[in-house]
């Protein structure tokens, strides 16, 4: 547990007046406020520090105690007596969204050992029921996993949550699970859990909404003469007929061979196949001679 220099956090000196402290707090609060810096953990952490510093320095009694014992806190037994608490486990999988009310848990161990668990302001809110904090969590999945509906179990704050993830869920999509956030105060309802899906594409397909895209190489002769080729789909391979004279970058649509439509059972997007005609790079003398003959036929307008 390290000494925390609250003056440094608020970027003020020790002789600052209450008005200076208030001004410094407002300035930094505007800079790091979680509502103005959504999804910015660094700003949130800074805001907590600023909040804690303000909590101490804006209260004359706490400031006096901090100034008196602050830098010698390691030697001040009073602090240790005041803070018999164990360090809290940190770094859980889910993070709490800023609810606007920092609780004991949001303050540093340094703060708790100096001012005790009841050091934070409670503002006479004890008898009111209130909704708990919302939690945010990320669930990492593979694209091939979300082709089918699947069940997963998440553990948040020691509670197991069985989740059914419908096929076709999108990368970045967030679902709300009501009641699985932090516990409410004084018997109030629990907060909600927001689960964001982060989907890694482990397939050779490009996904655009419910449609899939794939590029397939076609050899020169099949493109010119026509024939049959095998193309991949997400559920297996299919054979396609190619007409003679197929051009490079020709796009064909395979209806219903795309990705499942989210929460619409039996509905699928399409698969778009783009043919990439391969020009042979290394050809034999015999092939070269034959191509030259073909070129001559073209040049003389015989064909």
């Amino acid at each position: 547990m390290e000494f925390i220099d609250y003056y440094k956090i608020l970027e003020i000196d020790k002789n600052s007046s209450p008005e200076d402290i208030k001004k410094a707090y407002r300035k930094l609060a505007r800079k790091y406020h979680p509502d103005l810096n959504p999804n910015n953990k660094e700003a949130e952490s800074k805001f907590k520090q600023v909040n804690e510093a303000n909590e101490v320095l804006s209260d004359p009694e706490k400031r006096k105690k901090y100034d008196q014992y602050g830098k010698d806190w390691k030697h001040a037994e009073e602090f240790e007596k005041a803070g018999q608490r164990q360090s809290r486990p940190r770094g859980q999988a889910s993070s709490k969204a800023y609810s606007g009310h920092y609780t004991e848990e949001d303050f540093s161990d340094f703060f708790s050992s100096m001012f005790g668990g009841g050091g934070f302001q409670s503002s006479g809110r004890e008898n009111l029921k209130y909704k708990g904090a919302d939690y945010k969590a990320e669930l990492h999945l593979r694209l091939s996993d979300v082709y089918q509906t699947q069940k997963q179990t998440l553990t948040v704050d020691g509670k197991n949550i069985r989740l059914t993830i419908p096929a076709g869920v999108e990368d970045g999509q967030t679902i709300k699970i009501r009641g699985y956030g932090g516990e409410g105060m004084n018997g109030g309802p629990s907060g909600d859990l927001y689960v964001k899906f982060v989907i890694k594409n482990d397939t050779g397909f490009v996904r655009e909404g419910n449609d899939l895209y794939v590029k397939v190489n076609v050899d020169l002769y099949t493109a010119i003469l026509g024939g049959e080729i095998t193309v991949p789909t997400i559920t297996g391979k299919v054979k396609l007929k190619l007409s003679a004279g197929t051009q490079n970058d020709t796009k064909v649509r395979l209806k219903g061979k795309g990705f499942p439509v989210y929460k619409e059972e039996g509905k699928f997007g399409d698969l778009y196949v783009t043919y990439k005609v391969e020009i042979p790079k290394n050809i034999t003398e015999q092939e070269k001679s034959l191509f030259e003959q073909l070129a001559k036929l073209r040049d003389h307008g015989t064909i």
């Binding site: 407002r26 609060a29 505007r30 406020h33 606007g100 209130y130 909704k131 970045g172 490009v206 996904r207």
Partner: protein, 97 residues
């Protein structure tokens, strides 16, 4: 009797240490909807997170209700732009492979 998914404005204001007329000011600015019932004035549970955000901006940053309105408007625009940006980044990444 009030429906269970409604939060009394009186309770909300008491908890946040604000006067209820502030909520009506936010309503006039179009930032929040208030439900009127026989038992009094209420907030929809769905509107609670937004209302709390508004109160936080008002209290933590010492803004006026009009200032909160401007910030909420800009935050909405930022969110929209971030979503568009994310969508475009994802789209670009898919084709860069």
């Amino acid at each position: 009797m009030a429906r269970s998914n409604h939060i009394s404005i009186h309770t909300f204001c008491q908890y946040h240490g604000i006067e209820s007329r502030l909520i009506f000011t936010f309503q006039e600015l179009g930032l929040v909807e208030i439900v009127e019932e026989e038992a009094g004035f209420f907030l929809e549970e769905e509107a609670l997170s937004r209302m709390e955000q508004i109160v936080r901006l008002y209290k933590d940053l010492d803004l006026s209700p009009e200032g909160v309105e401007v910030v909420m408007g800009l935050l909405g625009k930022i969110e929209q732009l971030q979503e568009e940006n994310l969508f475009l980044i994802r789209k670009l990444r898919k084709w860069e492979k």
